[in-house]
Each structure stands twice: as C-alpha cells, then as structure tokens.
C-alpha cells in the first residue's frame, strides 16, 4: 500500500515536471510533400508551434499523394485517422462525399475564428468549396505556366514566346529548323492537367456537362466535341516533327528543359524552387498560350493540394486544428509560403501584401500564376472541375492520348473513346453516391 502511494506521488511529481509540455494538445497532419517542399512545410509547422503554447501540430510525410490517400483510407477504416490530411485536387469529390471529413469553414467558424473566406482568389475558392462553403483548406495551390529559354528565343529572333498557340507553333518550328535547340518543347508529365484541362478553361471550352460537374453528379464529359481534339492533334504533329520530345520514365521533363536541351516547358508554378536551383540556362516564364480565335482568354485552374479535416476526433483536438487552419489563412503565413515555395498565395490580401513589399520586382515570374488565375471573370468552363473518380477518368484519357502518340488511333477516335470510358467511370461514381449531399453536421 505504502509503495503504491509512493508510486502515485512520484507519478504526480513527474507530471508536475513535464506539466507545461503535457498541456499542449497534439494533432497529426499527414502530407505528401518531399524534398525542398517538405523542408519548407516543416518550417511552417515549426512557426505555428512556436507561435503559441497550447497546440502542437506534428507533420508526418506519408509519401506521394497516392500513398497519403491510401494511408488515410486505411487509418480511417481502422478508426485511427490523423486530424488533418493533405489531398490532391483530383481527389476532391472522393473526399467531399466520403462522409469521413469535417468541412473546414464550418469548423473554423464554430471555433470562433474570423477568416474572410470571400477573400480567397476565385479559382482557388471555387475549386475547394461546395455550395459556397469551403470544404477543405487551400494549402499548396499551383497552376501551370509557360517556361522558356530566353537565349534560344533571342537567337531565333523572338523577344518572348507568342500569346497564341498558332504563333507559338511557328516560333518552335523556327527554333528547330535553325538548329538552335534539339526540341522546341517537352511533353509535361501531367499534360492532361496543363494542356487539356487548363487549356479548356483558358480557351472557354466545356469539359463536361452540368457546368463541368458543379451542378450535379450526372455530368458527362464532352471534350471530344471541343478544341481539345485539335489540341491533341497538334501535340501529335509536334511529336512527329520532332518539335516536341517525351522524357519518358527514368527521366523528368524538367531535366530536358533545365539542361537546355528543349527550349520551352509547360509546368506548374510550384517548380520555381527546383528550376531556380537546377537550371543551367537563362530561363524565364510567361502565361500559357491561347487559341488565336479566342480574344479574351479566361483564367487557368488550380492544381495542388488542400488540407482536409477528418471526422471522429475530440473537441480539444479540433480546437488545435482550427487554430492551425486560422494560422494558415493569415496573409503573413501565405506570403511566406508563397515566397518559400512558388505556390500561389491563396488570398487577395496576401497577394496585395507581397506586391506591396516589392516581392515581384525581384521575382517577376512568380506573379504570373496569380495573374493567370485571377484573369477575367471565371465562368462555368473555367471555375474548375467536379468529376468523381477524377484520377481514374484521367488515366483512361491519358491512355487514349498515348494511343494517338503511338499512331494507333486518330485524335477524334481516341477522344471519343476516352469520353466513353470516362463516362462509364462517372456513372459508377454517380451510382455509388446516388442522392448524396454534403453532410453539414457540426463536428
């Protein structure tokens, strides 16, 4: 008995010693960043943890986006999900209708934080909102921009890449025929995102019915009836003429650009960090081109990830989550993240702050993504995409485009097949989620 008392006393003594540390509420955040981006993310979390003494966010790298998604699914099924998880843009519908998440706007407001959700940059806000309410916290938002080798363009007698695909094509053919570089451009690894989806948004082409899926799960793909078909034909022609190269497995498209082998490269603005570090060439960047018969190109759409809050935790933990999300929404945090990584600032206020401080005078190419995203008034075709099983439909589409590149199919045939396969996948998602609306139940 006496021993027991002594033990309990010792325990309390120990608790008293570690008291302040124990009082901190710890929450987990699983993420998909690696390399330089993971370092920056850890710095960001450290900033939050040292900024206050009540909560500790633990950032856990769980591999790439697919691995993080599978990790959180397994954890949720085992009833041990993390509080927060970073999911890529393509997983939006899966997460939204999973019944496993808490809408972030509800959570933040319930916990009494004042975040101005109307201040988020339009394509960012509309992508992550459902019925006008933010369902996930925009974290790393990017958009594709057009990178080019300044020396190659100057040697060929051009100031910079042209604004339209038609003129750009003749520029790239000139560069090739003058022997300035081996290839005009390199096929991006995520060409479906930059050269088909964003292409459709910028050129005001519908991708699917029902406002690209915003108006319901009954949406069907229609890109086999739009300019996407001629875009695929254009890429095929460039490939055949040696104006465009494919990097292929074991080698990244970025390397072909940064080494000076290819003159241009379409890629996310988030590759600023890598290109600044690796490029041996005199590079710059500009807006993505548009079709010559489109007079006022629209905004591009976002890619990247957002933070989802998982269901099934205590209110104490949700206090910590809300505090962290509120921290992320602050203009200072946004500006820091923008500068450290190349991702766009998610709010107008943060963008204005970066501008005010003259950040873009030293880093002009970092402003392109923001300008391109906020260009014009977003309409049904440029607001973003709401397709269920969007990864699966994309892989089917990519396979069909590859069949065009391999010479097995004509562009029209391939896009017809891609749409047909895509629609079957959409119907399966519709069947699974029949009659479902977002649960707005409070956590």
């Amino acid at each position: 008995m006496g021993r027991k008392v002594a033990f309990i006393a010792a325990l309390f003594g120990a608790l008293a010693l570690v008291g302040p540390a124990q009082a901190r509420v710890e929450v987990q955040w699983w993420h998909a960043m690696s390399g330089v981006l993971a370092d920056r993310l850890n710095e960001l979390v450290e900033k939050f943890n040292t900024s206050q003494d009540k909560y500790t966010v633990v950032a856990v790298a769980k591999g790439n986006y697919d691995e993080v998604t599978n990790g959180v699914i397994a954890a949720y099924r085992a009833k041990r999900p993390p509080e927060m998880v970073q999911i890529a843009e393509r997983g939006y519908m899966t997460m939204l209708l999973s019944g496993a998440v808490v809408p972030v706007q509800d959570l933040i407001e319930q916990k009494g934080y004042k975040v101005d959700f109307s201040d988020f940059i339009k394509p960012v806000a509309s992508f992550w909102s459902y019925k006008g309410r933010m369902s996930a916290m925009p974290f790393n938002s990017s958009t594709p921009i057009f990178w080019y080798n300044k020396d190659h363009f100057q040697k060929a007698g051009f100031d910079k890449p042209a604004d339209t695909w038609q003129e750009l094509e003749s520029q790239l053919y000139t560069i090739k025929s003058k022997g300035i570089s081996e290839c005009g451009t390199v096929l991006p690894g995520d060409f479906y995102w930059s050269l088909l989806e964003n292409y459709s948004a910028i050129n005001n082409q519908p991708y699917g019915t029902l406002a690209n899926g915003f108006d319901g799960l009954g949406t069907e793909f229609v890109y086999n009836k739009t300019k996407v078909v001629s875009q695929v034909a254009r890429l095929k022609k460039w490939l055949d003429d040696g104006v465009m190269q494919i990097a292929g497995q074991g080698f990244s498209p970025e390397q072909l650009f940064t080494s000076g082998r290819c003159s241009t490269f379409v890629n996310s603005t988030a590759s600023h960090g890598n290109i600044e570090r690796n490029a041996t060439v005199n590079w710059s960047a500009t807006f993505l081109p548009h079709e010559s018969d489109i007079n006022s190109p629209l905004n591009s759409t976002i890619g990247g990830g957002a933070i989802w809050v998982m269901r099934g935790h205590t209110q104490e933990r949700y206090d910590a989550v809300a505090a962290f999300l509120n921290f992320l929404a602050q203009p200072e945090t946004q500006v820091w993240w923008h500068g450290a990584t190349g991702y766009v600032p998610a709010t107008n206020r943060a963008y204005a702050l970066a501008r005010e401080r003259g950040y873009y005078k030293d880093h002009p190419t970092r402003e392109i993504a923001v300008l391109q995203l906020s260009r014009g008034t977003p309409n049904e075709n440029s607001r973003g995409f709401r397709f269920g099983n969007f990864v699966q439909t994309m892989l089917a589409q990519r396979q069909e485009v590859e069949a065009v590149f391999a010479g097995q199919k004509q562009p029209q045939q391939a896009m017809d097949d891609a749409v047909k396969r895509g629609n079957e996948i959409l119907r399966q998602f519709e069947k699974l989620n029949a009659g479902k609306t977002l649960e707005t139940e409070r956590p």
């Binding site: 998604t69 699914i73 999973s98 494919i246 990097a247 497995q249 099983n389 990864v391 590859e402 391999a406």
Partner: protein, 346 residues
C-alpha cells in the same frame, strides 16, 4: 522469409533430437523413440520407393502441428484472410473509406470482362509471361551449359551471373529505363546508330520488349542456379560414355543432360510463370508505369493501379480474384499436361 521460417523449425527440432539420443530421460522421450522404431522399417521402404525423405514424428499430431503453426499463421494472415476479403470486396461497390457500400453481385466481373482495357491487359500479360519465360529459361540454359565448359574463373563467372538477383527490382527497372531511354540512354543511342527507331515511351512494342528484357534479366540468375545444380546431378558415367561414343559437348547436353534436367526445367517453367504474373510489378512501375497506351499494363499492375491509384476497390478485388484463378489454372494445366512427360528417374 525462408530464414525466419527456418529458425522456429530448428529451435523446436533440436530438443527432439536430444530426446531421441538421450533415451530414457522422460516418458515422452521413450515414447518418441519407441514410436520411431515401430514404424521406421515401413517408412524407410517407402522412402526408398519414392526417392524422397520423410520426417517421422511419433507423438501424434501435437508436434507436427506446432511445427507447422508459424507457416499456417503466416498463410492465415497473408493469404487466407486477404483472399477472403478480396472475394468479399469483389462483389461490392464501395467508396474507398468504406462509408458507402453496395452489394452488386457480379457487376464488377461483368464490367471487367466487357472492358477492352482489361482484355488488352490479358493479351499483354500472355505475351509478356510467355516471352519472359522463353527468354529467361533459354539464357539460363545457355549460361548453365557454358559453366561446365569454363575452366578458369568459374566462380567469378557464376558470381557475376548471380549478381542481378541481389538488385532490388525497382532499381533494376530504373537502370533499364535509363539505359534504353531514347533521349539519354547509351544503349538507345547504339540502337539509333544502327538505324532502329527505338522509343519505348512512344512505341508499345518497344516498351513491351524493354520490360520483358528487364524482367528476364532479373530472373535469369534464379533459373541458372537451379540448372547448374541440376547439371551436377547428371551422372558423369553417362556423359563419359556418350563422349566415348563420339558425341560432342552440345550433343551430350541436348541428348543427355537436357532430358535429365526435365523436372528442373518443369519446375522453373512454373516458377517463371508465377514470377511473370506477380513479381514483375516493381519493374513495370519503374520502367513504363504500364504505358504507353496500356502496352505494358499487365494484370498485376492493373490490379495495383485500379486499387491504389484509382481507388476502385471492387474492380481491383475482382481482378485479383481473376488473376489468382488464372495463375491456378495455368499451374494446374502445366502439371496436368507436362508433368507426365517429365522424367523424374534421376
């Protein structure tokens, strides 16, 4: 895994041996010894007949069960339970989080069999495994034959051939992808130089050739080890007699060694098929990711992509059920039709 399995086997076996040699220390010990002697005569005869070794446990089902337990547990957790789950999942339509599950009978199978994508995957898998099998076994046979002819540096020769087995499949895949990358790969440059428009990123046939080469290269050493050992078992007297009769080395190999290698070759064929079906995943992932245009999208890779990337669990489960059935049918057919022709006499 072999190592882990062998440890409990040894640990439990050791006291048994002691007991047998120690004789009368305990009742159980005598029982075991007595049981052993009662049946040993019959068993030994059967052993000789079958040409196989047979273990003898006198104590009834207790000890054998105990010895089998680790393996049974591993099978339970890594084979039976997952297989059962796959069977269940294959008749469900569910979201990845499992919050919304519908029973759909055989819809997943129907959709699969109706999809051109899946049929393409079957065709690709067929050609891939057959080509891989022929190539692997063929090269391993040539190398094993050559081992006998090499006098100097035989161990160095063998070590070099065995090296690829020590390389992780993903690393091997990246190696091959790089060597044959049309933009930067040195071997691709050689091909271009001799006038072959090699491009596995664009050309489906090139891609299939590339993954077949990579997969075979990785597996040749496995076949090679078995064949070299098999060749050692061929009676020297037979070879010498043939030599005296004037048969050259190739004739001796083809007419004497090869038929006697029958069981080994048969075993390797089965193993190569299983390797091609299941274990080439990492190579595909590193070399082509199943592309271009699905040209290297073999069944096991498709199971992975549909399950872990597309999160279409029902279809992925249905595919693994079908894949398992294919592998089973394939192995049974091999036993049914080839096993009879194999000479187990050696």
């Amino acid at each position: 895994m072999t190592l882990r399995l062998s440890i409990p086997w040894r640990d439990t076996r050791a006291p048994v041996l002691q007991r047998r040699h120690g004789g009368h220390q305990s009742k159980a010990g005598t029982g075991a010894a007595a049981g052993g002697s009662r049946t040993s005569g019959k068993v030994r005869r059967r052993e000789q007949e079958a040409g196989l070794k047979r273990a003898n446990f006198g104590d009834g089902p207790g000890l054998p069960t105990l010895l089998l337990l680790p393996q049974l547990l591993i099978l339970l957790f890594f084979f039976f339970i997952p297989s059962l789950r796959a069977l269940m999942q294959s008749v469900l339509l569910s979201d990845p989080f499992g919050t919304n599950v519908q029973f759909v009978w055989f819809d997943n199978f129907k959709t699969l069999l109706a999809s051109s994508d899946y049929r393409q995957s079957i065709t690709v898998t067929f050609w891939f495994t057959v080509a891989q099998n022929v190539l692997t076994l063929g090269s391993a046979l040539v190398l094993a034959f050559a081992t006998d002819r090499i006098v100097r540096g035989r161990s160095a020769y063998r070590t070099i051939i065995l090296l690829p087995y020590a390389i992780a499949p993903a690393i091997a895949g990246i190696l091959w992808a790089f060597l044959f990358n049309p933009a930067v790969g040195p071997l691709a440059q050689v091909l271009h130089w001799v006038g072959i428009a090699w491009d596995p990123n664009l050309n489906p046939t090139d891609a299939l050739i590339l993954v077949t080469l990579a997969a075979s290269w990785k597996h040749v050493c496995y076949d090679y080890i078995f064949l070299v050992v098999g060749l050692l078992a061929v009676p020297v007297s037979l070879m010498e007699a043939a030599a005296v009769d004037g048969a050259g080395p190739i004739r001796r190999f083809v007419s004497i060694a090869l038929p006697m290698l029958g069981p080994t070759v048969f075993f390797l064929t089965v193993m190569n098929f299983i390797y091609g079906f299941f274990e080439t995943f990492a190579i595909i992932d590193a070399v082509t990711k199943g592309g271009p245009a699905g040209a290297t999208n073999i069944l096991v890779y498709k199971v992975f992509v549909d399950g872990f990337v597309n999160l279409d669990l029902g279809s992925s489960a249905a595919q693994s059920v079908l894949l398992m059935s294919f592998a089973l049918i394939c192995t049974l057919l091999q036993f049914r039709y080839f096993d009879r022709k194999v000479n187990y006499g050696v």
